[in-house]
């Protein structure tokens, strides 16, 4: 099979430059609407439900979901689908437990909610630690992915690619803040959904527009084992542990949580999750078709020749079905995907640094608008430079597991204290802090002791901790620590303020 992947691709560059020009144009427009901290962090809180639903999808559907899952399905068949399903089931949890209370109780970060009835400083510091841990690991995965992807798709050097991502992000976030980030995510989600639908239609046109014909053809070519669970789920506990992290991690991802502050009220927040679940769910259904399409219309050998992990399955499929133009389009969409996710991550990390640490810890909550905005912009530059460095330091490493790790930290470090602060009167300052710190640190430690690092990366014969993902241990542990530590102390203020918290959660601000 002939492919131009890996060579300099002018069509892809043109599509990509169009996207950059459009998004920088939007940034210029958004810059005029980003004059204070509220506009910088929340786009003024006037984003509609449909817009936020698309932006949530854009924030969530990273290159891992598009290229990674299509590749996993193309190489492993059914086993790859387990991931796409796992990434969706966190959304109902986010909706039922967190989205509306978050909107009504907080202003810029999820720490606003946890710290509301607690002592500010310890909770803010712990939350910032949890946030930055999640954001860092998520960023590593995105930046290394961006470097590799751009090298493969556009034929640019890895370091140049990482640098371009970092600089474009600085431009988006510093000047356009949440407004520009939101629109980049909306456009990216639209492009990604359009690209996936187009590819799926082209695939299905070869099979009489019946997905079952496609699956049957895949089974004919590789045996019916591709439609059944295979060796990827060898250890049931591993599958459950990963499942727990994916399910509860979504409701602890800082860049997702922050999006709920961009809408005017809880009802809009609710509607936006519903839209997001439609977009993301439909997209994952399409990955069934794309993955099996790549498997059937291409050969696994060809897919793996270009990238061992199968990440190039979707672009190669695009080239086979629509030639250089479709390849260029899909390549540009993939790059746009990474830019939008990195922008969201950078903004949420910057919010934690400036709003949680600088304003609420260093300045005791007393910082004027101008200072808040300025510090937020410095924090953005710091994070963008940090992510460029991460991309360069981790060059050539296998970072696929890092998104799973970021979900595990989010589920164990952030989710328990957040959900308990909303629903449990008894949660205390020490309980919340202990939960975040223990959840985050044990996740990091157990990942280090897991087969992923010990066996796959350090080449040891065995690992001390048997599971690839720590969620099964660290999520219950974090809840347990929060409850036990809270029961051991009396925090009168926190318990007294719970009534106020409940009132705000349900009635919002508008009735005052």
């Amino acid at each position: 099979m002939n492919t131009t992947i890996g060579q300099f691709n002018p069509v892809a560059i043109v599509f990509f430059l169009l996207f950059i020009a459009l998004s920088l144009g939007i940034t210029y427009w958004a810059a005029n609407r980003t004059k204070n901290a509220a506009q910088f962090y929340t786009a003024g809180g006037q984003i509609t439900a449909l817009q936020n639903g698309l932006a949530l999808s854009g924030d969530f559907m990273s290159a891992a979901s598009f290229l990674g899952i299509a590749g996993l399905v193309a190489l492993n068949g059914f086993d790859g689908l387990i991931y796409s399903i796992g990434f969706l089931v966190g959304w109902p949890i986010l909706m039922f437990l967190v989205a509306e209370p978050l909107r009504n109780l907080g202003t810029y970060t999820f720490a606003d909610v946890v710290a509301y009835r607690m002592k500010q400083k310890p909770v803010r510091i712990a939350s910032a630690f949890g946030t930055l841990a999640v954001v860092s690991f998520y960023l590593i995965a995105q930046m290394v992915g961006a470097g590799n992807l751009i090298k493969l798709l556009f034929g640019l050097d890895y370091e140049i690619a990482v640098l371009i991502v970092g600089l474009v992000i600085i431009a988006y976030v510093i000047f356009g803040g949440m407004m520009a980030t939101t629109w980049v995510q909306i456009i990216k989600a639209g492009l990604l959904l359009f690209g996936a639908v187009l590819l799926a239609i082209l695939v299905l046109s070869k099979f009489g527009f019946n997905p079952l014909n496609l699956f049957a053809a895949a089974a004919n070519k590789y045996g019916s084992a591709v439609l059944a669970p295979g060796k990827q789920v060898a250890n049931p506990l591993d599958a459950v542990s990963l499942g727990l992290s994916l399910m509860f991690g979504t409701a602890g991802l800082p860049h997702i949580l922050m999006r709920f502050y961009t809408v005017p009220d809880a009802k809009t927040a609710r509607k936006s999750v519903m839209y997001a679940s439609w977009f993301i769910g439909s997209f994952y259904l399409l990955t069934f078709v794309l993955g099996f399409g790549a498997m059937t219309l291409l050969s696994r050998v060809d897919i793996q020749k270009i990238d061992k992990g199968g990440n190039m399955a979707a672009p190669i499929l695009a080239e086979a079905l629509g030639g250089n133009v479709l390849l260029g389009f899909i390549a540009a969409v993939s790059f746009a995907t990474i830019l939008a996710v990195v922008a969201g991550l950078t903004l949420s990390g910057a919010a934690s640094l400036s709003h949680d640490l600088w304003v609420n810890v260093v300045k005791d909550g007393r910082a004027d608008e101008g200072e808040q905005l300025q510090v937020a912009r410095y924090a953005t530059v710091a994070l963008a430079v940090f992510s460029i460095l991460l991309g360069i330091v981790f060059k050539g490493q296998n970072v696929a597991y890092m998104v799973g790790l970021a979900f595990a930290i989010a589920a164990s470090g952030n989710f328990p204290s957040l959900v308990l602060s909303i629903f449990w009167r008894g949660l205390t300052t020490k309980g919340a802090v202990a939960s975040i710190v223990v959840g985050t640190i044990t996740s990091l430690l157990l990942i280090y002791l897991s087969p992923t690092i010990q066996v796959d990366m350090l080449n040891h014969a065995s690992a001390i901790f048997p599971l690839k993902n720590p969620g099964l241990v660290t999520i219950p542990l974090s809840f347990l620590v929060a409850i036990v530590v809270s029961l051991l102390e009396k925090d009168k203020i926190s318990a007294q303020k719970f009534a106020e918290v409940q009132q705000k959660i349900h009635l919002g601000n508008h009735h005052y």
Binding site: I82, L97, A216, L227, P236, A239, W278, A499, Q502
Partner: protein, 91 residues
């Protein structure tokens, strides 16, 4: 009185949220455990091209939509009205 109504509503919402969350966990972990422990069933074909695994996987995605729809319906029809009543009763 107002505080009591609010607490009652909060309680009710918590029960709905908790039950729907448990339903989601039941569906998803049921699927995962079937994948892990009953590979034979998940691999068996219903019609050519459609295994139980693929059908149930697609149904997990559909169940996400259904559970979210149930929640949105309840909050739009019942919860929002109660919230309005309580916050207006204050004035």
């Amino acid at each position: 009185m107002r505080e009591k109504n609010l607490t009652k509503l909060a309680q009710k919402k918590w029960i709905i949220s908790r039950n729907l969350s448990l339903a989601m966990m039941f569906v998803y972990f049921g699927f995962i455990l079937l994948v892990a422990y009953n590979k034979q069933l998940m691999g068996s074909l219903i019609v050519p091209g459609l295994s139980w695994g693929i059908l149930l996987g697609a149904l997990v995605i559909v169940s996400v939509w259904i559970l979210i729809y149930i929640y949105v319906r309840w909050t739009n029809n019942y919860y929002d009205r109660k919230v309005k009543q309580i916050s207006q009763g204050e004035r």
